[in-house]
């Protein structure tokens, strides 16, 4: 096997750990921190596939991914602050009525 598969494996492990955190933690801020870990896993995946295809498109796409991550962090944290002001807690289970 090759270095490319090692990159993809590490990226997949990071993604899975982030998914576990997103599903199991109850703190809203920690849920979004877990998404950032998933972003790191996807970046590693893109870099690994970039090596495999011997071009720069993977790295370029990872740059766009960073843009998306920054936008997501800004908007999500704004929403978290709004929710915290309304309820006085960061517990995700206190907003269960949003499930509909």
């Amino acid at each position: 096997m090759s270095i490319v598969n090692a990159y993809i494996l590490v990226g997949a492990i990071l993604f899975a750990i982030g998914l576990v955190g997103f599903l199991s933690r109850r703190n809203l801020i920690l849920m979004f921190l877990s998404t950032e870990i998933m972003f790191q896993g996807v970046i590693l995946n893109l870099v690994g596939f970039g090596i495999r295809h011997l071009d720069l498109k993977g790295q370029t796409f990872a740059l766009f991914l960073i843009v998306i991550a920054a936008v997501e962090a800004g908007l999500a944290l704004g929403l978290v602050v709004l929710l915290f002001r309304r309820q006085g807690t960061l517990d995700a289970e206190d907003w269960q009525r949003m499930k509909g």
């Binding site: 096997m1 750990i17 199991s24 720069l56």
Partner: protein, 293 residues
């Protein structure tokens, strides 16, 4: 890759998943001991993964030791983010993950991406997160950080995802490699035709580059790809950031109808109305006597 090696990888991943499950916050008896056991099991999984990666990559890759080191740092940091009971520590662990991932990017000759990761993630996004944590959670450990929501189901699902990914990667590997080799052969054929054009281009690049190196660096190459092939995408990304900025300001300034107030907000408003104004109260035009001095 043999089936035995694949099952070995599954075992390593299962040990890692078990460590994550034991370390996740939960209210159970002997919580401290269970957490320590999770630490030990997770460390065992990491060591197994390190040996597996080293064997898998093979001695052909020069930076093998560094790759394994950075990969372990990234995974250990990620587990720390997910399992730590204090959000501030989780954010600091995320810095570790970002640094390790940027190290992996440098090993893959993606220097600009590594620098952008450290600057944007470590410098901007992390500061935003820590700022919000400080704002919202000043009391240390909260009750909802000591308990997780269905940890066993989440860990099993994560492990199933990992196993499926690994299986798919191993199963499709030979086909994909053949396709890529064929593509490279085709590319080499195409290269021979416009080799003269490429040579002229690289000479122009060299003349334009201040350092005068023959091979343009990673930053120049990525910049060229961004400017030539993805110009519209760059503009759209800028537009997206503008929209997000406007949206964030609109969310933060949102006014709420008095009828829609939650109990928490009503309680806070009542407390604010009842509270005494700070400082000593003196009548506006009271005569200054000895007592006041």
């Amino acid at each position: 890759m043999t089936a035995a090696a694949l099952y070995g990888l599954y075992i390593v991943l299962a040990v890692l998943a078990g460590g994550v499950y034991l370390a996740l916050p939960a209210e159970r008896p002997l919580v401290r001991r269970v957490w320590q056991a999770g630490l030990i099991v997770g460390a065992a999984g990491l060591v197994g993964l390190a040996m597996y990666l080293a064997w898998w990559i093979g001695a052909g890759f020069e930076g093998r030791v560094f790759f394994v080191m950075f990969a372990l740092l990234a995974i250990a940091g990620a587990v720390g983010v997910v399992t730590h009971r204090r959000p501030v520590y989780s954010a600091v662990f995320l810095v570790l993950v970002v640094l390790a991932v940027s190290g992996l990017c440098i090993l893959a000759a993606a220097e600009f991406l590594a620098a952008a990761l450290v600057i944007v993630y470590g410098g901007a996004i992390l500061v935003t997160y820590i700022f919000v944590i400080m704002l919202a959670q000043q009391g240390g450990e909260a009750s909802y950080d000591r308990r997780s929501h269905e940890p066993l189901a989440a860990v099993i699902m994560g492990f199933a995802l990992m196993a499926a990914t690994t299986q798919a990667m191993v199963a499709t590997d030979p086909i994909a490699l053949h396709a890529i080799e064929a593509r490279h052969v085709a590319l080499a054929g195409a290269d021979a035709e416009d080799a003269d054009a490429r040579a002229a281009e690289s000479v122009a690049d060299t003349a334009a580059s201040p350092s005068g190196t023959a091979e343009p660096g990673n930053v120049r190459k990525v910049g060229a790809v961004l400017a030539r092939d993805y110009m519209i995408a760059v503009q759209v990304a800028g537009l997206l950031m503008l929209v997000a900025m406007v949206g964030a300001i609109a969310i933060a300034r949102k006014k709420i109808d008095p009828e829609d107030l939650t109990e928490h907000e009503v309680a806070q408003l009542e407390a604010a109305a009842k509270a005494e104004p700070p400082g000593r109260f003196v009548e506006p035009f009271a005569r200054v006597t000895r007592e006041h001095r």
